[in-house]
């Protein structure tokens, strides 16, 4: 059993006090360069590693942030985490991952548990079936939090989103200008601004062209994934839309299967456009027109701002940062 090397070890070896060692390791101005160098050299030689628990306990800094997301096996979120991790890495921070699986209760359990001082800050993308934001309101009072992509309106925290309204609006216009007369909508994130804005953009475009939608043309996301397929199929069968806008990626692929099942040709009989970060979008049959969110940049931005808050260099508690998505036109709408 190896002896673990602590400040004590170094102190004893160098015949100086523990305090001096600790200060030297933290590059304190109180310590002479000469002594610091001796400490650093020995620390390196003995492979000294600062004990994080002890350090945290004393300093109340954990060098750790938490990321709470609905699902990791999702292109958007894994890219976002990628961005977050990149920023965290630069600052030698550690990243804890928590998946809610779109379950609000799990989400609450996570946020509660993170109040114990395990992390310095939290990045959250809200679960789709979270209706009540009381726990978030409490949370943001106690610990720095940045919301990204899936956000609530009335929370006192920084939010990073994309131009949901504009991109949905543009997508709808793209369809209308392509000759579509009846555009169905796959609605998700109903209770979040994110979802509301997308839907509003869709409605606005319809309105501008004197078109209407009926409730029958709107399919709501069901967390039971198999039902989504059925619901879309039922809607397409009865309503016979000539286009579909999907407000989340998860609903795009079911559309392809439905079209196949109903013998509808995409894009001739049915045009499809979806919010999506699928890297196979260009290779699908037919290739899929997407509203691509800058997922990686969202993650970076969110992390960046969280760190600014931790550094106390950010003073806009309600900042709303909006990044631009891009509409990438492909065969499914041509």
């Amino acid at each position: 059993m190896k002896e673990t090397v602590t400040v004590k070890t170094l102190a004893k070896e160098l015949n100086i006090s523990i305090a001096t060692v600790s200060k030297a390791l933290n590059d304190s101005y109180e310590i002479s360069l000469e002594t610091k160098q001796k400490v650093w050299d020995l620390a390196k030689k003995l492979k000294y590693q600062r004990n994080p628990s002890a350090s945290n306990l004393r300093s109340h800094k954990t060098k750790t942030i938490a990321v709470i997301i609905p699902e990791i096996a999702n292109n958007f979120f894994s890219l976002a985490i990628n961005g977050i991790e990149e920023i965290a890495r630069k600052r030698d921070y550690h990243v804890l991952i928590y998946q809610t699986h779109e379950n609000s209760e799990i989400e609450i359990a996570f946020t509660d548990s993170l109040l114990s001082g395990r992390v310095d800050g939290i990045l959250i993308s809200v679960s789709s079936n979270t209706n009540n934001n009381d726990h978030f309101k409490e949370l943001v009072k106690k610990i720095p939090v940045v919301f990204f992509d899936r956000v609530f309106e009335d929370i006192d925290a920084v939010k990073i989103t994309t131009d949901d309204y504009d991109s949905a609006y543009n997508a709808t216009r793209h369809l209308i200008e392509g000759g579509c007369k009846k555009i169905a909508y796959l609605f998700a994130l109903n209770n979040l601004v994110t979802g509301k804005n997308r839907f509003a953009g869709y409605k606005k475009a319809l309105e501008e062209y004197g078109m209407v939608y009926t409730d029958a043309m709107v399919v709501n996301y069901d967390k039971d994934i198999s039902k989504n397929y059925e619901n879309i199929k039922a809607m397409v069968s009865s309503e016979k839309p000539d286009a579909i806008i999907s407000s989340i990626e998860d609903l795009a692929l079911p559309c392809y299967y439905v079209a196949r099942e109903l013998n509808l040709n995409i894009p001739r009989d049915l045009k499809i456009i979806s919010f999506s970060n699928l890297n196979t979008a260009p290779l699908l049959n037919p290739s899929l027109t997407t509203i691509e969110q800058p997922a990686f940049e969202i993650g970076k931005e969110a992390a960046d701002i969280l760190f600014k808050i931790l550094d106390k260099k950010y003073f806009e508690p309600n900042g709303n940062h909006i990044l631009k998505s891009s509409l990438i036109k492909r065969e499914s709408t041509s």
Copy 2:
């Protein structure tokens, strides 16, 4: 500023000692049920949260595991993390994520830094350009580690892999039986058993059918992604294979682009098969035949075993667990 509630708070309030509170919270047999109940009730009422740092410092248990992977924005790895997270959740463990981006030095930095007692155990899928495994050999002596999917041969630790040899063998046979005469191979993970086994399976199948491969038909993975496309294109142009086996997902899509660029029809002119967990594989143009690894299960299994080791209920330091992949035949090879 709210007072943080500690064991001290509870002790004072209930007029009992700190030790009693601590033991009650840990459900120790030394404490009467009556007292425990009082402690639990008050803890709940005051929303007491055990301070993780203090607890770790004293008990040397962090309730945290680390996952080191090459890339999170990858179907296989995000599914694996999903499985890991599921198991961790059940045991109230926290999951730290580290991405190496296939960089061996970053990998070493991570493993070194995890020796400070920040985590109880580590799950690793080795970076593709890691040639030297000395740091792993040292690592496994000091902390429980389970390797998954991308593993080294001669490390004294548990390994979770898939039947790489068999699945590559079967995939190759599938192509041969489909009439292919010249099967190219996209080689990755050359320095890991994982990659070696896949290549060996390919070679064995060729051999059985009296076929040969030349070095010119083998393209090695380049970490500069843009080069892969060029390399594959060059190989296909000069060698004119009638099929390609890609040993990792990242090399499959470039094949599609190359075929498109060279005006080759898949599968007529060029059949393609790839190790892959793409959920859009059935929707590609044409749909892609895949060797699908049970990514989620691999993650679960790896985490499961790590916890067994932590519980000291696992006694097979060299256990090699092999899960089965499935060959899913689609249009790209028909």
